[in-house]
């Protein structure tokens, strides 16, 4: 249980962000400012770093067997005559996505995956390495099963090295693997579901009623393999090949009591034109508008984020951001889609907790390039924030980290997740070597950075692919996999943008499992800490209303915290806030109603 302290709200003190952090939506080719993150000293494990409102509390280097110190992404020096050849680089050991089960963190890797014990105090104890080359190694976990995405042509069914030769081979594996780790000392591969385009990322989707059934939405982005290697696979545009493996996702069904039988059950045409039924009904490639990005064609999704409790999924699908109804998970149907001149490649999506907004990330340049330089437009390579309205998705604003990064650092928006602060929409996101950034998009028209961590480049003169693949919140901590360096753990620190009670409220939320792209509805416990978090939000909004009411609330929360809640008093205060909300503007009224509801729940 988290120990908390009741804070006195700072009445009548403006706590709005200073102008330096205001993040207005930009349409033109404006660029980011230089800040403390711009010129950090470089180094493999000793780079300078800058932390603002987060603290790094732990770190572990990539484990033995997943790191080649001689090859860390420098240009290989010329070998002396007669010397053995150099190892070809570090990308084959790149750390990728994370999944969490209790205190265990599963870190994907192009070379397999690693498992750590992470009790939350910053310690990271490495307990298992699975070697299975094939990239990119995005992971999910469910019970004793671990799921792994692989797409590269070198991937082998037996998880071996050395690659695969030939245009068609029975030894080649591209798709989703399933491992059983019930005996952590004796892990087994139980299934290997082959797919036409391999697996770049995947998302677990629970069956609405049958607890024995789990679906996997497979997003594949690379080349189509020939039918001679995998039956039913063929390439080409739908005009010449109606059966093309392009323009679909794979839906895999897993019976949890027989995971070895996992198989594809549908390849829905979710990009079809609503009127004509044409399979390639969405963005066809090219510039959406003059002066805009050259946007990829929509023939696949990069990532699909599901929110099963809301029957919704948000697909980041190359040339479009889409919204799907997944009430029948085997037959998702498209509700809405967005295209945008500033988006080069729709990469990933995150809902807010109420499923009224979606944040889509743009991976301009594929993550390999420096895209946060002084002359890179701030409207390119960042996030789009859209509201979900009765008319579908409506874009409200854009966000990119407000910091110029040097050309030695690959930087673009990448994977992230919601931080469960009640009453606010806050997210942490990895930006490769742009570091990690915490943004508040409660006001979807005005997203704002409220915390960050960044470190210098790996090398001074060369761009060495590195940085945070992702940043995810799990049970009170932020975990960020660094492509080359390993895994870092952070905690939030209080600031004018996030109070101690708001952080404590987020840290109270515990879940058994956290998977990338599988969002679960956050429910906060009944606690004075939650009420205090709302009270802090009113104070920050400079809207506590009548002075006496705030002071009384603080007093009653202190009693509640001490285990002696006066439910009648709390109910009376709740009624007062409900009354105040009648005359407040929408944003303030919502906080007041949240607070009232939290106060009432104390008596239940």
């Amino acid at each position: 249980m988290t120990r908390t302290r009741i804070l006195l709200p700072l009445l009548a003190t403006s706590m709005l962000a200073s102008a330096a952090f205001a993040q207005e939506p930009t349409e033109g080719p404006e660029t980011a400012p230089v800040d403390v993150r711009t010129n950090l000293g470089s180094g493999l494990f000793d780079a300078e770093n800058a932390a603002w409102n987060v603290e790094r509390i732990g770190s572990v280097q990539s484990p033995p067997g997943f790191f080649d110190p001689e090859a860390v992404w420098r240009l290989p020096p010329e070998p002396k005559p007669g010397e053995a050849r150099q190892r070809p680089g570090q990308i084959m050991f790149a750390n990728t996505d994370l999944a969490f089960s209790g205190d265990r963190v599963f870190m994907g890797n192009f070379h397999g995956f690693n498992v750590f014990e992470a009790p939350g105090d910053g310690s990271l104890n490495h307990i298992l390495s699975i070697v299975c080359p094939g990239g990119q190694g995005d992971v999910s976990v469910y019970g004793d099963l671990v799921f792994l995405s692989q797409e590269q042509n070198r991937g082998r069914l037996d998880c071996g090295g050395g690659g695969v030769s030939g245009r068609s081979s029975e030894e080649r594996f591209r798709g989703v693997r399933i491992f059983d780790i019930s005996d952590i000392d004796n892990p087994r591969q139980v299934a290997a579901v082959q797919t036409c385009r391999g697996s770049h990322t995947h998302t677990l989707v629970p069956h609405p009623t049958d607890t024995n059934v789990l679906y996997i939405y497979n997003s594949a982005t690379s080349g189509v393999r020939p039918g001679s290697e995998l039956e039913g696979c063929s390439n080409g545009e739908p005009s010449s090949n109606p059966d093309t493996a392009l323009y679909s996702i794979d839906i895999i069904k897993v019976m949890l009591d027989a995971p070895e039988e996992a198989a594809i059950v549908n390849r829905p045409r979710i990009f079809a034109d609503r009127e004509t039924g044409e399979v390639n009904g969405l963005w066809k490639g090219g510039q959406v508008a003059d002066g805009g990005q050259k946007t990829n064609a929509t023939n696949h999704c990069h990532d699909i984020t599901v929110y099963p409790e809301m029957n919704l999924a948000a697909g980041a699908c190359s040339g479009n951001g889409i919204l799907l109804d997944i009430s029948d998970p085997e037959n998702p149907s498209r509700i809405s889609e967005l295209a945008d001149p500033n988006m080069a490649y729709w990469h990933s999506a995150t809902f807010n907790n109420d499923a009224t907004k979606v944040l889509y990330a743009d991976e301009w340049g594929g993550g390999l390039g420096a895209r946060c330089r002084a002359d890179d437009p701030i409207a390119w390579g960042g996030d789009i924030i859209a509201d979900i309205t009765e008319d579908g998705l409506v874009k409200r604003s854009q966000f990119k980290i407000p910091s110029v990064q040097p050309d030695t650092q690959n930087c673009v928006s990448h994977n992230g997740a919601i931080i469960p602060v009640p009453g606010r929409d806050i997210m942490v996101q990895g930006w490769y070597q742009g570091g990690l950034s915490v943004i508040d998009f409660t006001d979807s028209a005005h997203p704002k950075e409220i915390a960050y961590f960044d470190q210098g480049a790996i090398d001074d003169g060369t761009l060495v692919l590195a940085g945070y693949w992702a940043a995810y919140w799990h049970n009170g901590r932020i975990y960020a996999p660094e492509i080359v360096r390993g895994l870092d753990v952070f905690k939030l620190t209080p600031s004018e943008f996030l109070s101690e009670a708001e952080i404590a409220a987020a840290e109270m939320v515990t879940v058994d499992v956290t998977n990338p792209q599988w969002q679960r509805r956050i429910v906060w416990p009944d606690s004075p800490v939650i009420a205090q978090a709302y009270l802090d939000q009113l104070a920050r909004a400079d809207s506590v209303g009548e002075l006496g009411l705030g002071v009384e609330t603080v007093r009653e929360l202190a009693r509640w915290e001490a285990g002696r809640p006066r439910t009648k008093e709390l109910a009376r205060l709740a009624a007062s806030y409900e009354e105040e909300a009648q005359s407040a503007d929408a944003a303030h009224a919502e906080i007041m109603m949240n607070l009232a509801s939290a106060l009432r729940r104390a008596g239940e």
């Binding site: 403390v36 950090l40 000793d46 300078e48 770093n49 800058a50 932390a51 603002w52 409102n53 732990g58 770190s59 572990v60 484990p63 033995p64 067997g65 080649d68 240009l75 020096p77 150099q86 190892r87 990308i91 084959m92 050991f93 192009f110 070379h111 990271l124 490495h126 307990i127 298992l128 390495s129 699975i130 070697v131 299975c132 080359p133 590269q152 042509n153 070198r154 069914l157 037996d158 071996g160 090295g161 050395g162 690659g163 695969v164 030769s165 030939g166 245009r167 080649r172 491992f179 892990p187 087994r188 591969q189 290997a192 050259k294 340049g365 594929g366 390999l368 390039g369 060369t462 692919l465």
Partner: protein, 230 residues
Amino acid sequence: MMGSVTAAAAWLAAFSLITVQDAPIVQPGAPGEAATRLTPEASVEMSDAGYTEADIAFMQDMIVHHGQAVEMVALIEARTENEAVRAMGARISLSQSSEIELMQNWLRARGQSTESKLLKSGGHGDHDMGDHKMDHGDKDPMDMPLMHGMLSPRQMKTLAAADGLAFDRLFLSGMIQHHQGALDMVDMLLSDPSNGQDALLSEFLSSIVGDQSAEILRMQTLLSALGSPS
């Protein structure tokens, strides 16, 4: 308020106690098969996926391909004052030169020659490029580029003879054609899944696609800003 820059040494000292424990390293084997324990060295060894003859030829040819871009940029100095074109050229020259170095090192590290067989054979290339052969017919050798997207000897001559606005246009349209050719060469290489499995090569191919696509877009914007020739 803006955050503190922490000395790296202090950070390292704070976490020096956290070291990686000896956890098992396991290769699972195919579904249903028994797993194998590996040493860290054996694991690292398995990352090497090898390379093909086509990979070698691609790198050898791309050195020549990139070399022409550097030659084109070298013309800029004496022929145009357009700042945007000069800046674009500087960026291209820098990245293509460093990539040439990378490709040479990649080949040398594998004990391979850095010379293109197309150059040795006198050119008119693309014979290693799958089924995308160019139809040369009875063309004048002056109009035959050595490989995909490269400027023909005549195009290079015309570019070298131009200056000012005419040069800017020829340079940008030529470099767009040149970059597009590199993208085509990557596509052709990867049309056989045996190719491009080597990790550094695979990474390099992706960066060619990412960077050159971005540069094409910039150059198209610059070109349209110059307006159409009167």
